[in-house]
């Protein structure tokens, strides 16, 4: 039976890649008095809904999508959570 899954994906810059936007935000926070903020790194959050036979297939599919398209492995890392969503819930959102 086909099931519906929602993947919540986080794409982040690899630690070795300088994140000037994160540094700018950190400096802004420091101006506001948040001097205890050590570091800010900015990444992307992506939601993907897909249909698959089972969780393992969905997992593999999302992993491939992340590796091929959503993240560039040269500069980015990714991780994701996968949840099955009911059809009713999917229809209402």
């Amino acid at each position: 039976m086909l099931r519906k899954y929602r993947a919540t994906i986080y794409v982040t810059l690899r630690p070795s890649v300088l994140d000037p936007a994160g540094t700018a935000v950190q400096s802004g926070l420091s101006h506001l008095g948040y001097d205890d903020v050590e570091q800010v790194r900015i990444g992307k959050y992506i939601e993907v809904t897909l249909i698959a036979d089972d969780e393992k297939t969905a997992q593999e599919q999302v992993d491939r999508i992340c590796d091929r398209v959503l993240a560039n492995p040269v500069i980015e890392n990714y991780r994701f959570d996968l949840k099955e969503v009911s059809v009713e819930m999917g229809a209402s959102t």
Binding site: L13, S16, V17, L18, D19, P20, A21, A24, V69, L70, N72, V74, I75
Partner: protein, 224 residues
């Protein structure tokens, strides 16, 4: 020598490039729509600057999967010439035809200026009309042009002599090793952030970029 200029939705330097190869250099030139699947008539494919697919996700990330890109990869694998300028350079790294990646400028600004660029070597088909070590002036216009590669890749690029252009003096965007343009190991694929096509007509204040295209023509004339 027949040139083709790829046009993605969002490309905006395509006609500038075609003006140089077609009008200034009088070479047969045609535009290649991104959905085309036959480019076998071409000797040189140029991927121009712009904002292909709105630069959504990452610069060049979506352009890479357009139908024409598979053909461009085959074109490169046959040893034919591919040049990516600015956004075109980003597309070529995303497609894996060139190593590394182009990320957000160090100071976050979009930089639009003319900058001194050093020609690292003149024994490449792309740079043979220059002299090695020559400093030329080329326009740059990008927000994401900071070249990045992991240490090992960077060592390989340098060791193989793949760096053809380097920013001279001030490193405006924070590129590793001041890299402005690199070629692949075989030398037939070049990606560069500066715009040689915008420095080809004397009316625009400089012609340092024209020699890149002229050099390529001489190379082919020599082979023929």
């Amino acid at each position: 020598m027949k040139f083709g200029v790829v046009v993605f939705p969002g490309s905006n330097c395509d006609r500038d490039v075609a003006y140089v190869t077609g009008d200034l250099l009088q070479q047969p030139t045609r535009m290649i729509w991104h959905e085309e699947t036959d480019i076998t008539d071409l000797d040189v494919v140029i991927i121009p600057g712009g904002f292909s697919y709105g630069d959504y996700l990452r610069c060049g990330a979506i352009a890479r999967f357009s139908p024409v890109m598979q053909r461009v990869v085959e074109h490169a694998q046959q040893g034919k010439f591919v040049l990516g300028i600015c956004n075109g350079f980003q597309v070529l790294t995303e497609a894996g035809l060139l190593p590394g990646a182009l990320v957000r400028n160090r100071d976050l600004h979009f930089i639009c200026d003319r900058v001194p660029v050093k020609v690292e070597r003149s024994d490449s088909p792309w740079t043979q009309s220059y002299s090695s070590g020559q400093i030329i002036t080329l326009p740059i216009a990008h927000g994401e042009g900071r070249f990045y590669a992991d240490r090992r890749t960077l060592q390989q690029i340098e060791g193989n002599g793949q760096v053809l252009f380097r920013y001279e003096g001030e490193n405006r965007n924070g590129s590793m090793n001041n890299i402005a343009g690199i070629c692949n190991r075989q030398g037939n694929v070049l990606g560069m952030m500066p715009h040689p096509e915008r420095a080809s007509d004397p009316m625009l204040g400089g012609t340092d970029g024209l020699k890149l295209f002229q050099g390529l023509l001489e190379r082919v004339a020599a082979i023929a």
